[in-house]
């Protein structure tokens, strides 16, 4: 069996991917999800994961300590706005949730979007920071906030897409913690066209 | 005369039940006497509201109903002072704190202060101490002081003198006697010590296995041969007397009882005052002729009224002295030797030093001859 660590926001997608993999090969992949920061810390201290799908590019790079062959990009994230139209971002009376910019790449991107001149009218608004993207969704889902800037992959279908130029690209990289034939076989599958289309279908873009 | 009316049905563990239906005087001191486990504490608990008797029970003090079919006053509304047999002091407060606790919640009666009770019960040097660091007797005194300070309508005392030494016990008894008459607070007190009982009580309730065995004024009950009290080893009769003369030379006082004279240790009270005397049956002996060269000062002419066997070898005699009665315990052999019969007139010798006097009304120092 393979042990794969995955950032929480990619977990549903990866689960879907693994279902296909299992159907084809019969191999069971054990998924462990947590936030990217936690998983990175764990990997630094001997966590028994073979591969780590992070939500950003820095932390896999940190883990690989410069060894480019151990990391690769597997998806590029997109943002979407749930709960209203783009114009609402300029309305200070509408509360907005984003993921924590300090810890979550989607939070950083969302902050970039919110900081655009066009929305400065709302700069005084109460910005609710969720721990991660999933929590930002929960805030919106519960009705506690009016708007949420979410990963497209998590956002409801009627969410409005945010133009990708409005923020730095959200490249999600994976880190190969323990290379092995099984890992290689799995990675080949992950890089296959089938999977790429699954990823795109889930609301990501493919890597450059 | 107002009364304490008790009609209580209260069940305890196993098949014990307390079933009491009686009237007690609502003034003076009533002793509750009976063997261990006869329900004395249970009775006090019911009166204080700490145990709930059956729904039909009635507890009335004077014209205040504490409990009947309709009302069951909560314990804190009953204005009952209770000295528990284990002191039950508040361990988180000092002695003074305990007393102040009672004072802050005191009822309308009584206006003595912490200083007063601490003088009466010699607590001055204990004020700052924690209850846990007191000796058993000291704790008991604090508990009595605390109950007094709450200025209750009635005082319940459960074996209050058990841990006190002879002197302290005497002082306490005298204090309670005084307070009972001066403040007009009725007291119910439980004791195993018939001497204590007859020193302090005016009225007696005898319990046995949760039932009233007999009840009545102490004086009457004491001299009745069928009350159970006369069977006690320490049976004693109580006489009412008046002070007739003080003999300063010998430090004695003479009392008049039914026209006869009884000599006791000097009393500090004026001629004419009333005085109660306790005369243990075993201190009374009988002779046909008045002895002349004996150290016994008190020799009274009496009539044998009743004779009752106590065990195989002794008799208790009920001796009439005017309208009052003495008890005497003698051997069957002596009775045979003297050929004693009911109706005989004989002399009762009372060792004067055996007189224990209880003042009928306050103030007299209890000094024994």
């Amino acid at each position: 069996t393979l042990r794969v660590a995955v950032a929480a926001n990619f977990k549903p997608t990866l689960e879907n991917i693994n279902r296909h993999y299992r159907a084809q090969t019969g191999i069971v992949v054990l998924l462990s999800s947590a936030s990217t920061g936690v998983l990175t810390t764990q990997l630094q201290h001997g966590a028994p994961f073979d591969i780590f799908f992070a939500a950003d590019a820095q932390q896999p790079a940190l883990l690989a300590t410069g060894n480019k062959s151990r990391t690769f990009c597997y998806a590029v994230g997109k943002l979407a706005l749930a709960g209203g139209s783009i114009d609402d971002l300029a309305d200070a009376s509408r509360s907005l949730a984003i993921a924590n910019p300090v810890t979550a790449p989607y939070g950083r991107a969302a902050l970039e979007v919110v900081s655009r001149k066009a929305f400065s009218a709302a700069s005084k608004r109460k910005l609710v920071r969720a721990n991660n993207a999933a929590q930002a969704y929960q805030f919106w889902y519960s009705g506690a906030v009016d708007l949420a800037l979410l990963p497209r992959a998590l956002a409801p279908d009627d969410a409005v897409a945010i133009p990708v130029q409005w923020h730095a690209p959200i490249e999600q990289h994976a880190y190969i913690a323990r290379p092995s034939p099984a890992v290689t076989r799995y990675l080949n599958w992950v890089r296959s066209d089938t999977v790429r289309s699954l990823i795109i279908e889930a609301g990501y873009e493919s890597c450059p | 005369m107002s009364a304490i009316e008790l009609n209580i049905d209260c069940s305890g563990a196993q098949n014990f039940s307390l079933r009491v239906d009686c009237k007690l005087p609502a003034q003076g001191v009533t002793a509750i006497y009976g063997p261990s486990g006869s329900g004395k504490t249970t009775l006090l608990d019911c009166i204080a509201g700490l145990r709930a008797p059956g729904a039909d029970s009635l507890i009335r003090i004077g014209n205040q109903v504490l409990s009947d079919q309709n009302v069951q006053l909560a314990p804190w509304r009953r204005e009952v002072g209770y000295v528990f047999s284990k002191a039950r002091l508040f361990s988180h407060l000092s002695v003074q704190g305990n007393l102040r606790y009672a004072l802050q919640r005191r009822r309308t009666r009584g206006n003595f202060t912490i200083d007063d009770v601490s003088r009466w019960l010699q607590l001055d040097t204990l004020m700052e101490r924690s209850p846990d660091s007191l000796s058993a007797g000291q704790q008991q005194r604090v508990a009595i002081a605390r109950a007094l300070l709450s200025a209750p309508q009635i005082l319940l005392l459960d074996e209050p003198f058990t841990n006190l030494d002879g002197v302290a016990r005497k002082q306490c008894i005298q204090l309670l006697q005084q307070l009972s008459s001066e403040l007009d607070i009725p007291m119910l007190f439980v004791s195993h010590d018939i001497e204590e009982v007859s020193e302090l009580a005016d009225y007696l309730l005898l319990l046995e296995e949760g039932r009233v065995r007999s009840q009545g004024p102490l004086i009457e009950l004491c001299s009745r041969l069928d009350s159970g009290l006369a069977q006690e080893e320490r049976a004693a009769a109580i006489l009412c007397a008046g002070i007739s003369r003080h003999d300063e030379e010998y430090g004695l006082s003479e009392l008049d009882v039914e026209g006869e004279t009884i000599t006791v240790a000097a009393l500090q009270r004026p001629v004419g005052s009333a005085q109660r005397l306790r005369i243990p049956a075993r201190d009374v002996s009988i002779c046909r002729q008045r002895p002349t060269d004996s150290s016994i000062l008190n020799i009274l002419p009496v009539t044998v009224q009743e004779m009752s066997a106590i065990g195989p070898s002794s008799l208790t005699l009920r001796l009439a002295l005017g309208t009052q009665y003495l008890l005497a315990r003698i051997t069957r052999k002596s009775a045979a030797n003297l050929d004693l019969q009911v109706g005989d007139t004989v002399y009762a010798q009372i060792k004067s030093v055996a007189l224990v006097s209880a003042p009928a009304d306050g103030n007299a120092p209890v000094e024994n001859l």
Binding site: A144 | W76, S133
Partner: protein
């Protein structure tokens, strides 16, 4: 060792939250514990079980359900907003409510145990001196349980300081409003700023140790002690 403004703010918020929460916990928990200690039977057992319930839900999950309750379109949220004019979710008040619910068992259970151990005889003595149950409670039960109040308050306080799952969920991590120390610390760890995390933890630990130490050091007065 200097602190950033945000950190100072977080410390202030944390202390405020923990103090307010502990105060409310004692206010709410004391009568509840008293009631529980006097009652037996199914109703009391059910209440007792419910008090302990928040413990078994992971804090974030508990927080999620609280959030569902606090949202502006729920009865509670609506009522709150019409009363105070401000929404409940992501407010300091929400944090307080969440913390109170979460820490309730730590306060109620020690108090309940303490209360049920005050000897019945002592309370009876107080009652015959004229103390109503209320009075008995304040004059006897409270002072006799002081040691358990220390336990309860310190568990409640400490737990609120350390608690972050619920706080994060219903507070929304808004700097200056709902970003408490535990979240700030968590952020450092998440973003792998370990040096910062160590610094903040060390501070928190030293401060708490000192506080707890002084709390627990109160010697009891009796110099004279019985052995055995």
């Amino acid at each position: 060792m200097s602190l950033s403004d945000a950190e100072l703010n977080a410390i202030y918020l944390t202390l405020l939250l923990a103090s307010v929460t502990t105060a409310i916990l004692l206010l709410v928990g004391t009568p509840l514990a008293w009631w529980l200690s006097r009652r037996r039977g199914s109703v009391a057992a059910l209440v007792e079980a419910s008090v302990a319930l928040p413990l078994i839900l992971p804090p974030t999950v508990l927080g999620f359900y609280l959030l569902l309750m606090f949202a502006p379109d729920t009865p509670l949220g609506r009522a709150w907003e019409s009363l105070t004019g401000a929404p409940l979710a992501f407010s300091f008040s929400a944090l307080v409510i969440g913390s109170v619910i979460y820490s309730l068992p730590f306060v109620v259970q020690p108090l309940q145990t303490a209360f049920s151990r005050v000897p019945a005889g002592t309370l009876q003595a107080a009652a015959t001196l004229g103390a109503t149950p209320r009075d008995q409670f304040f004059s006897i039960v409270l002072p006799m349980s002081s040691r358990s109040f220390t336990t309860a308050a310190s568990l409640g306080f400490a737990h609120t300081v350390g608690e972050f799952g619920v706080v994060l969920m219903i507070g929304g991590n808004i700097p200056g409003e709902t970003q408490v120390l535990s979240i700030a610390l968590y952020d450092f760890v998440e973003s792998l700023q370990f040096a910062e995390a160590h610094r903040l933890s060390a501070m928190l630990i030293v401060f708490s140790l000192a506080l707890l130490f002084f709390l627990y050091r109160r010697e009891d007065a009796s110099a004279w002690r019985v052995s055995a």
